[in-house]
Point group: C2
Chain length 209, copies 2
DNA sequence: TATGCTACCTACCAAACGGTCGGTAACAAT
DNA sequence: ATTGTTACCGACCGTTTGGTAGGTAGCATA
């Protein structure tokens, strides 16, 4: 008797993994609604009925890809970040790592932010809850910085979402064959996020003699 | 004999305007692919065939809405900005104004950034060209600031897109019934963009006596 | 009264969609 | 030799889709 599982984790190898990876790539390119189940099947060289051997519905396929994206975010960004004691260093790490996942372009994380509307309400709740947890962690780091007096007077909500906006937007424009590599772009984003675009006017130091 | 026109500008009043406005709102909520022509017709209280009296196809409807979004951006942001001589003031104006159009949430500008995949190649080229012109103008302003020595050492491409990312992302999270009004959010974004999140460590001024 | 235009409607169509059914070839274990 | 499982396939189904053909009621102009 099979154990009832919360959800099927995406298999990391074998044919099933190939199915999910291919699906993620096509959905990333064409969008969820514009991608038919047959499109995915065709890309795999099988028929639609054959594909249904691996998936339990188009919706669940999307949901699983999104869960995988969140897994990735937690595994590669949030969890390692929790080991970093210094808040500023932690923030730098998170931005860099998150940005690189986006520019790496394997799809799951981008689909995660782009296609929320296609989920059922129940699926949406789960995904939203996990996304909020990630956001809260980011915000907590900013709050810690604030406590250290290292932050400008900024609203934490606006700050958190602005960070995510910069990072997530990378998927819309960054191309790996452009002039900057992933690390360079990530570094630039860190700089802009932390120090902004303009530099303060040089302080005029007047010393009364 | 009717004059052959480049494109039909969106009418600003009358029933036709109502049609386009309603369509934009629904597409904004549900996404282009998930919105059927009947959905739009239903919202207008007419049948699909009746709606086709006003539009010439689902694609052209989307295209027209996007053109309207670009018109809006040029009319309310780019053109007034060109009257501002000081580059820093111009940048502030552009960010503020653009952000407020997004938070105002009437749809066209957001659809513009969200649904590019649904266009035909020919439509896509036109829209992309106009978007690039806007981007180039933004970048030119940054370049001017750079010449004045008012900019950190940042890559202009990354900087421009990071700005757009922060601004466009607003549509994903900003709610008018939240704690901050549109102007406050716009100001916050300006601050983060120009000065960043962290403030420089206080300079220790040592004066040799 | 006739003509023409606007603003729709009912009824329909071919295509595409997500999904299912009953099969089958290949291989492994008993 | 039988049984079970995996990995598919061809054919089909009901529904929805974007889009069209042809009509009509109401109003304006001549």
């Amino acid at each position: 008797m099979p154990v009832k599982r919360e959800r099927d984790p995406l298999p990391s190898d074998g044919r099933a993994a190939e199915v999910y990876l291919t699906a993620a790539q096509i959905i990333l390119e064409k969008g969820y609604d514009a991608t038919s189940v047959s499109d995915i099947a065709k890309a795999l060289g099988i028929t639609k009925a054959g594909l249904y051997h691996y998936i339990h519905g188009k919706n669940e396929l999307l949901f699983n890809i999104m869960e995988y994206g969140l897994d990735q975010l937690e595994r590669e960004v949030a969890q390692p970040a929790k080991q970093i004691a210094d808040a500023e260093a932690r923030l730098r790490f998170m931005i860099t790592k998150h940005a690189r996942i986006v520019t790496r372009g394997h799809g799951a994380v981008t689909i995660l932010v782009d296609e929320t509307r296609a989920l059922t309400p129940a699926q949406n709740r789960k995904i939203t809850r996990r996304k909020r947890a990630y956001l809260d962690f980011l915000r907590a780091t900013l709050d810690e910085l604030k406590g250290d007096g290292k932050l400008h007077k900024v609203d934490l909500t606006v700050a958190s979402f602005s960070l995510l906006g910069m990072i997530n937007w990378l998927s819309r424009w960054y191309r790996a064959d452009g002039p900057l590599n992933e690390q360079q772009v990530a570094d630039q984003v860190v700089n802009i996020a932390l120090h902004g675009l303009t530099r303060p006017a040089p302080r005029r130091i007047r010393v009364a003699l």
